[in-house]
Structures are given as C-alpha cells and as structure tokens.
C-alpha cells in the first residue's frame, strides 16, 4: 500500500471510511443547524432512541452475513414487548414484588422469544425455504399472535419499577458533591444540577452487542458464519455443520429482536404489536451502509453500529430541527442507494486495504 500514489491512497481511504466521514459531516452539520444537538443530553438522546435500531441491526448483521435476510425482527420485537408486559403485569397482580416479576418476566420472554427464531432456522436450514419467505411468514404469524394477545389495546399497568429501569441512567453525578449508580441521589440535594450519564437501556444494549460482536470477530463461530456466507458448498466440505449453524444464526437474530422488544417495554412501559414495525427498513439499511453485502460473506458489527448511528443522528437531528419525519424516509432511501453505489464503484478500493 505504501507504493501507491497519494491520490490513489486518498481514494482508498475515502472508499473505506466514507461511512465514518459521512457520520462526522452529518454530526457537524446538525450541530450548526439545530439547537442543543451536540450536548451531553443530545448525544444521549441519539443513543437512547437508537437502541432498537442498534439491536435489530446487530440481529440483521448475523443473518445477512450468511446470505439470508430476516424480515420478522420488527414484529418479533413487538411480540416480545407484549409477552414481557403481559407476564410482568400478571405476576405483579398476583402479588409478586415488582423486582421479581420484572426479572421473571424478562427471563421467560427471552426464552419464549427464541421460539420464532428457532422455527425460522428450521424452515431455512432444514426445509430449505428461502429466508425471505420463511421470515415473512414468521412476520405474519408473530403479528397475528401479538394482536391476539393484546386484543387491540396496548398492554399497560406495568409496575413503576419498569419505568425507572427503562428511563433511568447508569451514573448520576452532582458536580463536586456526589456520584451514585442506578439510583438518583437522595432528596437532600434538591435544586442542584444533576448530571445523568448513560441511559440504562444503552448499557444493556451495548453489553449484548459487544458480546456478540466479539463472538463474530474472534471466535470459530464467527469464522463459520463468514464461511457459510462466502460459499455454502465450501463450508459444507470444510466440515461445518451448516444446518445447525444457520438455525443458531436465526435464533441469535430472534434473541436480539426479543431484547429490543423488552427494552421497548421498559422504555415506554407498554407492549405494542407494531412496536418494531418501522425499524425493519432501518435495520437492513444500517447493515448495508456498514459494508455488508446481501449476497453474504461480508459485514461487521462495528460497521452496522456505524450505519445505525448515521440513521439515528439523522432522525434525532431532523426531529430537533422540527423537520417532518417525511423527509427521513427520503433521506434514508437516498443514503441506502448511495451506499450501495459506492460499494459498486470502488470494490477494489474498499477491499484492497483489508
């Protein structure tokens, strides 16, 4: 790479890091255009509202690397938000303490939420149903089941603790006086400026994303995922149990969608069937911006997070500016096509640096 002329190296740099540069440019632009964007609070808002896209994007990353697609993540998210809300309300009403009912509800939902993914995986891996069709059917089924569970009325009457977790922060600081974790400092400091740092839901999300990002990047499981996406036949010949692996991939996708649903429940203290319906497009777009190819074999969790940030910054920026969300759809569509065109025009540039 050292031998290449400077302008060529610049081009490679642009091709490789265009998403990062786009994010920086976008952030600078919004910090001028909208008031209160580049503040501690503004940045936390971006992450707070972005959790769903981050989690669904990570789910989609695993699936897309294997060359598949998962259309059901949005409605699995809604399904999980309803199931968790229902279980927690039922437990709380029967006299279990809020903390226990929330813990039990979350664990049970995590387990139930693996079922749609497992079925997806079986259909795709064992019965060779195209992922598009299998997961679309699962979309319809989870949508129907969710609507049946709530009968058109969003789940409510969740214990207050859910709200406290979902909208609480990891660290609270009153400058020069006190630092506390998870709980607001006691009432004696009323009137002081309270700094709230890192929302809880962001902590939860990034722990999960970090673990699975590590798995994808550093473990054999991750290697096999890329191998299957790159060339299924070669992967089979190399002795990878492709069927089991693909099933696991769809289970992971469902796991992330379920986590997104539970976090939605904690954040908004309700469960809704269409909680994640609007995020399907965003999550796929984020993965593609992050450098993945729908033909499989390419993509990283880091890239996806970058893609998610581009979308989250765009959405929050437009919202703070007071621009209608209609423009968001157009912008997302344009960015998506732009991302793929860059990938098409500079393939050798982007991948030579690897």
């Amino acid at each position: 790479m050292q031998s290449l002329p400077l302008n060529k190296r610049m081009l490679i740099f642009v091709g490789k890091y265009w998403a990062l540069m786009f994010l920086i440019l976008e952030t600078i632009l919004f910090s001028f255009l909208s008031h209160g964007f580049l503040t501690l609070r503004g940045i936390q808002i971006i992450f707070f509202f972005g959790t769903a896209i981050f989690l669904l994007g990570t789910a989609e990353t695993f699936v897309i690397i294997t060359g598949g697609i998962d259309l059901s993540v949005g409605f699995i998210m809604g399904f999980a938000s309803i199931v968790s809300a229902k279980i927690i309300v039922a437990l709380a009403n029967s006299g279990v303490s809020p903390a226990w009912s929330i813990s039990i509800g979350v664990v049970l939902t995590m387990l139930i939420g693996l079922i749609p993914g497992y079925i997806n995986g079986l259909l795709v891996a064992r019965l060779r149903v195209p992922p598009f069709i299998a997961t679309f059917s699962m979309l319809a089924v989870t949508h129907g089941v969710s609507e049946l569970l709530i009968q058109g009325v969003p789940a409510k009457n969740l214990p207050y603790l859910a709200n406290a977790i979902g909208n609480g922060y990891f660290i609270y600081i009153i400058p020069g006086k006190v630092v506390s974790f998870f709980n607001k400092p006691t009432a004696s400091f009323r009137g002081e400026t309270l700094l709230e740092i890192i929302p809880n839901v962001v902590v939860f999300s990034f722990i999960l994303i970090g673990i699975f990002g590590f798995i994808l990047k550093r473990t054999k499981f991750g290697q096999h995922t890329y191998a299957i996406g790159g060339n299924v036949d070669a992967a089979i010949r190399a002795g990878i149990n492709v069927k089991r692996h693909l099933t696991l991939i769809y289970v992971i996708s469902s796991f992330f969608a379920t986590s997104a649903g539970i976090i939605y429940m904690l954040k908004y203290v309700t469960g809704k069937a269409d909680a994640g319906a609007g995020f399907l497009l965003d999550s796929i777009v984020a993965v593609v911006i992050g450098g993945a190819s729908l033909y499989g074999g390419k993509g990283t969790v880091g890239g996806t997070i970058l893609g998610c940030l581009i979308l989250a910054v765009l959405e929050t920026g437009l919202r703070i500016m007071g621009v209608s969300t209609f423009d968001k759809y157009i912008a997302v569509g344009v960015i998506l096509i732009f991302a793929v065109l860059i990938d098409q025009f500079f393939p050798e540039l982007i991948h030579k640096g690897d």
């Binding site: 195209p130 069709i133 679309f136 089924v141 777009v285 759809y329 344009v334 998506l336």
Partner: protein
C-alpha cells in the same frame, strides 16, 4: 426385495396422483376453503360476496401481476406498495386542484389519472437503471425507492388522504355492467331510473367495473408473458442470466423495461384505487402490500430464484389469500388469525415447491 410389477405401476400411479395434487394445490385449496366457508359463513356463497371479493382483490391482482414479472427475472420489487400510494395521492391531488379550479369533472379526472400513471414510471425507470446498469441488488434498490416514494407521497399529502374529489370517480369505480330489478327493470351501466331508495337492497348488480378492469389488464399481462418474445426473454433472464446474454438478449434494457412495467402496474393500481375509494390514499408504512403481493406470487408457484411463475398462478395466489380473508371475516373470526393463516399457507406453498421441484 423384488417388487411385483403391479406394485411398481401402483407406485407410479400414486406418484402421478401426488404430482397432480401438488401442481394444482392452490386450486384445490381454494375449493376446500370455499366448501368450508360455505358452511361456516352465512352469505359467503353468494353473487354479491364474490363480486365483493373481486372488488377488494383488484389492487392486489395488479400488484401481484407486477411482482410476477420481476420475480420471474430473479429480482424483487419492494417499492410497489408505495409507488401505488404515490400515484394515488399524486393523481388525486391533480384532480382535486383542477376540479376546485373549475375544470370539468371528466377533464380533471382524465388529466389527473394520466399524469399519475406517467409519473409512476419514474421510480420504475430509476429502479431499472440502478439494477441493470449499476448492478445494485434489486432488494436494495427497490428498498431505497420504498423510502423515497413513501417520503414524497407523505410530503404531497401531509399525512392525510386527499379528499373532496369529483363524485363521478366513485360512480365509475363502483359501477356495474348490468343492473337488474327482479320482475321490474334492467339497465346497463347505471341504476335503473325510478328505483326507490327503500328497494335498492333488492337490486341485483352484475359484473362490476373492477372485474372488467382486472380481466382486461391481466389478460394483456398473461398474453405478454406467455405468447410474446418479451415474455420468453423474461423467463430466459430468470432461468440463466449468462445464457440469456450469450443468446443475444439485451438484458440490461429488458430489466429496465421489467421494473418500469412493475412500477406502471403499481401506478395503475393506485389510480384505480382512487376510482374505487374516491380519495387519494397514501400507503401506510406497515401496510406491506409488497409482501402480500410477493406471497401471492410465491403461492402461485413462482420461485424467488427466478425462471418460474405465471400470471394465472399469481391470480390464484391472490384469490386464495383474499378468499381466506373474506371467509374468515364472514365466519366471524377475528382479523388477527388472518395474518397467522397467511404465514402458514405461504410456508406450505414453499415446502410443496421444495418437495416437488420438477413439477412447476
């Protein structure tokens, strides 16, 4: 073990029977559904209900027709639902502006519809160019167009349906070829004069304009796909792209035509929707028309890998889904079961396709 001759021929017979069932399973399924619903749903098996089914299917028949062409080439078009909303809102807006500006009903309707149709070509051409010339995967290109058309549509209508359109629209969209008042009167195209309002329930309406419209469009599409060079090339591209290029087919141009045709048909569906409902309705982001259309096409025997599919199959797919929906509704079953049923039937369709790959 050596099999007896008769045993072998018996097995072949059985296999042939299974193959026949697999090939026409959607037709058999429709028949089964109709038998079941005729017991469970009061009024399911009636002329007016069937015309109702056709009326509600019109838009989906067009969308499925559009998707059939795209899927046969091995592509996918996710933007059709929003192109439909786009042309609906755009043509309704023009009709509204012209009508309120004093233009006559017919002029504003004609100008509005035609400009809606012409404008709906643009997203299709852009899709086609992105996919054919710049090799953007169809999923991504049309997903991008999904967002763009959705945003533009919402900007035009500001999130509200466009109303106060000329009443003639609904009259055309909901008219029937033949009206019969038993023992009294019969007339073509309009309600017989002198029918009192209290008797209007007894009026028999035959052959809705939507049926006429769908039959016309679908016949043209069927002919285009089955009997013309254009159709042959479509199958050729889906079957084996490289072979198609070597056979001298201008694949790039053909793909641009295919996506333009798909967008045009979606635009047609949108404009007809204005005639049916009398308002310019945008497509809600979770309406999933495109997924419904893809489901119908796959139930009709197409493969997402390309090279397979037919207009008749897609029509059967739409009818299956719509009859299922209508029957469940008439039988008093909650609408939520419909989603589940659609999902399960789709899976059955694909598994049948997988089990008997040589049949379709």
């Amino acid at each position: 073990m050596i099999l007896e001759n008769s045993e072998i021929s018996g097995r072949i017979d059985l296999q042939k029977k299974i193959e026949a069932v697999a090939k026409y399973w959607s037709l058999i399924f429709i028949a089964l559904l109709m038998i079941i619903f005729s017991f469970t749903g009061k009024g399911f098996l009636s002329l007016s209900n069937f015309q109702n089914i056709v009326h509600l299917s019109t838009v989906f028949l067009l969308l499925a027709g559009a998707e059939t062409f795209v899927i046969i080439t091995g592509g996918i078009d996710l933007s059709i639902g929003f192109i439909m909303g786009f042309s609906s809102v755009f043509s309704a807006k023009i009709i509204q502006v012209m009508y309120s500006g004093g233009a006559s009903e017919m002029v504003s309707i004609v100008v509005g519809s035609i400009s809606g149709l012409i404008l709906s070509l643009i997203p299709g051409i852009v899709n086609g160019i992105l996919i054919a010339k710049y090799r953007v995967p169809p999923f991504i290109a049309t997903l991008g167009m999904w967002g763009i058309t959705n945003g533009i549509t919402l900007k035009i209508c500001q999130g509200f349906p466009i109303s106060s359109l000329p009443p003639k629209l609904v009259e055309i969209g909901n008219s029937y070829l033949l009206y019969i008042m038993p023992h009294k009167a019969m007339s073509f195209f309009r309600i017989p004069p002198g029918v009192a309002d209290e008797n209007i329930r007894n009026l028999i309406r035959i052959f809705p304009s939507s049926l006429f419209f769908s039959i016309t469009v679908l016949t043209i599409l069927w002919h285009l796909l089955k009997n013309t060079k254009f159709g042959q090339h479509t199958y050729a591209i889906g079957g084996n792209m490289d072979a198609a290029i070597r056979a001298g087919i201008n694949v790039k141009r053909h793909l641009i035509y295919i996506y333009t045709l798909s967008a045009f048909l979606s635009g047609l569906a949108g404009v007809f929707n204005v005639f049916q409902t009398g308002i310019g309705n945008f497509t809600p982001y979770n309406a999933m028309y495109e997924l419904f259309a893809i489901a119908a096409v796959v139930i009709g025997g197409a493969s997402l890998m390309g090279g397979k599919g037919s207009i008749i199959g897609s029509i059967l797919g739409v009818l299956l889904l719509k009859i299922l929906e209508n029957g469940l509704q008439i039988s008093g079953i909650e609408p939520f079961y419909r989603f589940i049923a659609v999902g399960i039937i789709l899976i059955i369709a694909v598994i049948i396709d997988q089990l008997f790959p040589d049949l379709f």
